[in-house]
Each structure stands twice: as structure tokens, then as C-alpha cells.
């Protein structure tokens, strides 16, 4: 059955039945694909209908009051479990955060992160859950460190620009072992180096997950809070405006991700005066009556922990490994690349895709294995060539690697430009391989 590709401005809130998982956008700008329920009523002027793509279609009972009605002070989002809701990625991520037990969020507006801040602000109205409209990104990040130091699940975020201001805080939370989730609702894929290398001081890394769509964004949100607590580290969500704005049908659920260590390090003040009070510090000196390891041993231990994470937490998705042509891409761009690869395969080309889900730790061995017999390893990313460095570090024969992405912003500079579109991706792949798809 056909589904429609509609402008986000045409969307209205409605309750819909559970829909199949993949509902991705294959167009740019403000047009978003929606797993829509039925013949979506076309506008008389024809605007908003951009074309038809194959999608799952279910029945359409639009009830305009759906999700926002329950949003409010101290709401239990869990009560919506089992019900499908039409949510923007930002709303879905904020709700998933609350489902994951997030009690504190602080943020400073910046598009497209703004929508996430608004969603948290709507859903966390204290006192149990607090969203502070921080006066700056630096303050927001440090408020979140304070909240997380008490043992509460906490998060903050911005776009790459604001995340740049938070680098000191990210390094701090890595080195003083404060579990914290940082959301980057980025304007582009130009923050790959920031996400994977970072700009703070010291020997630290940041687990960075790059969801390819809203459904995965929800999974990642749960996972990021879990991994942050499991390892006592900051974790990073690398989304973009497609993730932030796309509206999809969502069935909230809380995954069981396994047991977590107790937060016996958290500051509650209770041991004050007993000789067992706590000190939370990047130097990990402990108190004079109960000394900690001190900086040298502590930083070694932290570095060793990141080695362990590198070993255990790599995640990726591969399709048709060791095809003639393998295209590596991440995040939203991977949705486009995978679509083009499916098309080209249908046309007879031997082409596969590889997607790092964790940008750090980068799935190096998996990529090496998946490209061993390939003739071309193409890297498509919407930036001047950042992830390609990691691909070069992974793939044995570097001569196979070609960077086929590039900087592409629309005229506002706030969104992807023309490169992130099916024909453009297709053209780049074909040009780089010199292959023509069999007709």
C-alpha cells in the first residue's frame, strides 16, 4: 500500500496503531516521511504531498488529544507503555530518558537541539524530575554534573557548537567518574571528531552512539543511561535534525538491560561528621582517613576502564559484507546509503553497507572483516572527511578507501544540504566505483 511523504507542518497528533520499524525519510529539507495510517487527507492545494514511497500502512483513528495530554508535572510516562504514540524524535528521546529514570536535565536553546530541551521542559516539571533552563551550556553541563554526583540519572545536551563549550565538563565527568548523558542534536555530521576525540583534557574517551532513526534513538537513549551507570562514564548521543524533528509512531517500552553496580560513591551528605564522608574528584584522593588512589593510579585505572569499554561495547550493523563495494556511513546518512544500496543491489550491483553504531568505540575489527574481500570501501559522511580516519585505521588495504561524502549545508547552515539525498548519494557511489548498475 502506498504511504505519503508529507510536510511536518501537516502533521497533527493522533493515536496510531503500532507500525513497522523502519519509516525513514528519503527526502531532504523539511519533508519527513511518516508511517502514516491511511490515505492521508491530501491538502486541496496539493502542498505537502511530495511523492509516494512504499511503507507500511495501518488504520487511521486520529484522536487529536493523544500524547501531550498526559505531559505534565511528575507524569508517569510508563503509563503510556503499550500504547503507540505519534512523537517527534525529540519528544520520543525525552520520554525514553524519563522511562530510563532520568531525573535531571539542563539545556540552553540551540536549533535543532531546542526541540529536545522543550520536550524535557514539558515533561520534567519537578520536583521529582527537574529541567533547568540553564543560562549557558557551560552552566547546564556543570549543573548536570552536580545532579549526577548525587546519584541521580542526569543529562544535558546541545548541538556541536554548544557541545564545544561542554568539552571541559565531558572530560571532567569522565575523569571523576560521573555517569552523565550528553545529547548532541547536531546540525550536521561535522561533529564526528568532537564526538569521538573530544576536546577536553586528559586520557578519556566518550562512548558515542549514532542512531539512524527515531526508533533507534529511543533504544540508544536507554542504552546510554545504562552504559553511563555501568561504567561510570559520560556517554554521547549523536543525532541530528532528522532525528530531532521526524515524527513517528512509537510504542514506549523500558528494556531490561541488566544489573548495575550500586551507586555507593554518590554524594548524599549522610556520612558527614562520621569520619566516612566522601570526596568526588578527578584526582580521586579520598579523605585523609580513607585515602583514595590519587591521580596517577586513578587516571591509569580510568584509562584501563576505557580499554575495557573499547573491547566490550563496539556495536555495528553490516549488510552484505565483503560485497564488491562496501559503503561505510553513520547516523541518518546511513539510512540514505542503505536505501541506495538496496536499489543498486536490485539492479545487480554487488554492494553492501557497514554502519558503526558506536562511533567510539569504533568497530575496527568488524569493519576490517566486512571489507576484506571488497574492492572498494567508500565512506559517505556529510562532512569534509572525519570518520574516514577511523576507516583508514581499521581497513587493512588503505588503497581501497575513498571518501565520497562532503560538506553539505542548506542556505541557513542549520541543516543538511543537497548531498544528503538519494540521487546524490547514488551518483557519488557510482562515480567512485566507476561501475554502472546493470539494467
Amino acid at each position: 500500500m502506498p504511504a505519503v511523504l508529507i510536510e511536518s507542518s501537516d502533521l497533527f497528533r493522533c493515536r496510531i496503531e503500532p507500525v513497522a520499524r523502519h519509516s525513514f525519510i528519503l527526502s531532504k529539507g523539511s519533508a519527513y516521511a511518516l508511517q502514516c495510517e491511511a490515505p492521508f487527507p491530501p491538502r486541496p492545494d496539493g502542498r505537502g504531498i511530495h511523492g509516494e514511497i512504499p511503507m507500511t500502512v495501518t488504520q487511521p483513528p486520529p484522536t487529536p488529544d493523544a500524547p501531550s495530554a498526559s505531559a505534565g508535572a511528575g507524569i508517569s510516562v510508563g503509563s503510556d507503555q503499550g500504547t503507540s504514540l505519534l512523537l517527534s524524535g525529540s519528544e520520543a528521546v525525552a520520554r525514553a530518558s524519563i522511562d530510563a529514570g532520568c531525573r535531571f536535565f539542563a539545556g540552553y536553546p540551540m536549533s535543532p537541539f531546542t526541540n529536545l530541551l522543550e520536550s524535557f521542559s514539558k515533561l520534567m516539571r519537578g520536583p521529582e524530575r527537574v529541567c533547568v533552563a540553564a543560562e549557558s551550556e557551560i552552566e547546564g553541563a556543570n549543573m548536570a554534573i552536580g545532579a549526577a554526583a548525587t546519584g541521580a540519572r542526569a543529562a544535558t545536551g546541545s548541538c556541536g557548537q554548544g557541545l564545544a563549550l561542554m568539552q571541559e565538563a565531558i572530560a571532567e565527568s569522565a575523569l571523576n567518574e560521573t555517569p552523565l548523558v550528553f545529547f548532541n542534536m547536531a546540525r550536521s555530521q561535522q561533529d564526528y571528531f568532537q564526538a569521538t576525540r573530544g576536546g577536553g583534557w586528559g586520557d578519556y574517551r566518550t562512548i558515542a552512539l549514532a542512531p539512524k532513526d527515531v526508533h533507534e534513538a529511543i533504544e540508544h537513549t536507554h542504552l546510554l543511561f545504562h552504559l553511563a551507570d555501568l561504567y561510570r562514564v559520560p556517554t554521547l548521543f549523536y543525532g541530528d535534525h532528522f532525528i530531532a524533528h521526524t515524527e513517528v509512531g512509537v510504542t514506549p517500552h523500558v528494556p531490561d538491560l541488566g544489573p548495575l553496580p550500586p551507586k555507593d560513591w554518590a554524594l548524599d551528605g549522610r556520612a558527614g561528621g562520621s569520619g566516612r564522608s566522601k570526596l568526588h574528584w578527578t584526582w580521586n584522593m579520598g579523605k585523609v582517613l580513607d585515602p583514595g588512589p590519587g591521580p596517577d593510579a586513578h587516571w591509569r585505572a580510568v584509562a584501563a576502564k576505557f580499554d575495557e569499554i573499547r573491547r566490550l561495547e563496539r556495536r555495528w550493523e553490516v549488510d552484505h559484507p565483503n560485497a564488491d563495494v562496501m559503503v561505510v556511513s553513520f547516523g541518518t546518512a546511513a539510512g540514505f546509503v542503505e536505501h541506495v544500496a538496496r536499489e543498486l543491489r536490485a539492479e545487480g550491483l554487488s554492494i553492501g553497507t557497514f554502519r558503526p553504531i558506536t562511533l567510539w568505540p569504533f568497530p575496527e575489527e568488524a569493519l576490517a572483516e566486512a571489507t576484506e574481500d571488497s574492492r572498494h570501501v567508500l565512506v559517505f559522511e556529510v562532512n569534509a572527511g572525519q570518520m574516514v580516519d577511523d576507516v583508514r585505521l581499521s581497513v587493512g588495504d588503505r588503497s581501497k578507501i575513498r571518501s565520497i561524502g562532503g560538506i553539505s549545508a542548506d542556505e541557513s547552515g542549520l541543516r543538511y544540504g543537497a548531498l544528503l539525498d538519494v540521487p546524490a548519494v547514488r551518483a557519488r557511489i557510482l562515480a567512485a566505483t566507476g561501475l554502472e548498475a546493470a539494467r
Binding site: 549543573m143 554526583a149 571523576n176 562520621s274 564522608s277 568526588h280 574528584w281 584522593m285 579523605k287
Partner: protein, 312 residues
Amino acid sequence: MTRTEPPATPASPSTLPSASASTPTSTPTSTPLVLLDTDPSRPPAGAQKVASASPRLLQSTEHHFCSGCGEPVALRLLLEVLDELGVADRAIGVVGHGCYGGFVTTMDVDILQCLHGRAPSCATGIRRMRPEAVVFTIQGDGDMINEGLQEVLHTAARGENVTCVLLNNGVFGDTGGHMTAATVVGQRTKTSLEGRDPAIHGYPIAVADMIAGLSGVGYVARGAVHSGPGITTTKRMLRRAFERQLAGAGFSLVEILTMCPTGWFVPAAQGGTYSEQQLAGAYPLGELAGGGPAGQATAGGGAGGRVDAAAR
């Protein structure tokens, strides 16, 4: 910390605003508070040990502070107040970066040692997650007025129910005596060798006065620890600030002028005089907002309840 020789003699007190008129707490210049200026194991001639009491909330009396430093005095008062108010078992402190950080391992309260300047923001996060806690920060003038000025202003204006303790010695003591945004006019530091010159370096920021003018503020006061009466008054200010916090009155700030003979390049024994004449001259002591009996906070800022520090 090793004493460095002064780059030059300190600015003449006569070139600076007189401290005595506005600060009746000040010790007469002829009898400055005598502090050990060399080896602490050798008290000055005639000095008598009167008592050996360390605050209960101090786990060790060992420290690496310079002779004549005012910060241990101020921190002692803070610990005594927390103990006397019976809130040690729900206190959480956030400590910035400066010499006072040397006490984080010995203060027997929960401490988050945070990034330079960011303590009020961290305190905000803690406060929001632990409404039952007594939350405070310890910061220097470098930490609060240089690196973290916007943090403290926003936290105050937000009316965050936390107490910030500012140890103002007019220098970055920890880095070795450099000019801060609170260095007084005429003061010589390693980065203002001829003395702070407004034409070149601009003017110091009296942050407590700024904050006292903000709405959402429960209590603001400025004390000093260069004299016996000053110490007593400062302790009362700290107590009052925490009482305000316990009453939910909003943001409180106690600025404490502390001696830093090392960063001022004066002998330890002259620290008190220097503090009184130069710092207190520029930063008059007293309550700046929310003074008066506990519980009657003049939230809304302004110079409500300003009292003569000496009289208290």
C-alpha cells in the same frame, strides 16, 4: 608553598581608600593580629598557646597552607558553623580551584571538587536533586569573580537555595600571586607589577555588592578574618547564611576577606594589616542583604538590614 620575595614594596596604604572609617571591626594598625610568619613550630616570642582545639569536622590538622594564610581560619569557621547547626550529616560542599582546595581531603563533609568557577552550577544540580541537603560552595575570588562570575550571578538571580562562601584575598594565591578581578587598585601582583592601574587593568568587581542588589537573594554579607572581632562577626555571618538556607530564603553569599601574605608579597605577620587597610578599605565589611533576625530575610535584594560589623 614557598614564600616569594615581593616584587616591590606594597603600595602605600595612604594611596588607598581608608579602611578604618567604614570598617570598625578592624584591629588598630599598631597591634596587628600576630600570626606565625616562619616555622609554625616556633611561635613568636611572648606567644602563649591558650587552647588546642580543632573543629570536630576536621579530620586532620595537617595542611600545606602558608604561614599567615587566612583561608584555614575561614574554613574553620565554616566547619564550626555546620557542626553547631547540626547539619554536617546532610551537608554537601562544592569546592572550586584555589588554595582552599587543600582542605577537601580533611573536611569531614561530602565534597564535590568541581571545575574552576563552576561550583554554583554544580551546587544547583545537587540542590535540585537533594532538597533535604545543606548545599554550599567554597570559592576564591579567582574562582568566583574571574572564571565563574556568570555562574554565581545566575545562581543568585535564580534564587537557588545554596550558600556560596567566597574567600577573597584579591589574588590568585594558588598560582603564585597574580591579579584577579578583585585585586584592589594599587595592589602589586605578578601580573600587575606596578600596582593595579585602572587605566591599564580596569577596576575590581565587588561581587557581593552586585549580588546584594539582585532579587532572589536571601542573604549577603562580607566579613574578614584579620582580627579577633572580625572572625567572630564572620562566623555569625556564616551562621546566618546557613540559617537562611535552612529557612528556604534563597541564595546566600558570605564573602570573607582572607590574608594571603604569599600572594601579597608581605611578611606573614603583616598580612592582617594589609588585609585591613587594602582589602577591607576597598570592600567594606557588613551585611549587604537579608540582615536582621533569622527568618526575616529581605529577599528582593537591596541593602536591607545592613549592620555595622563591629557591633555584632
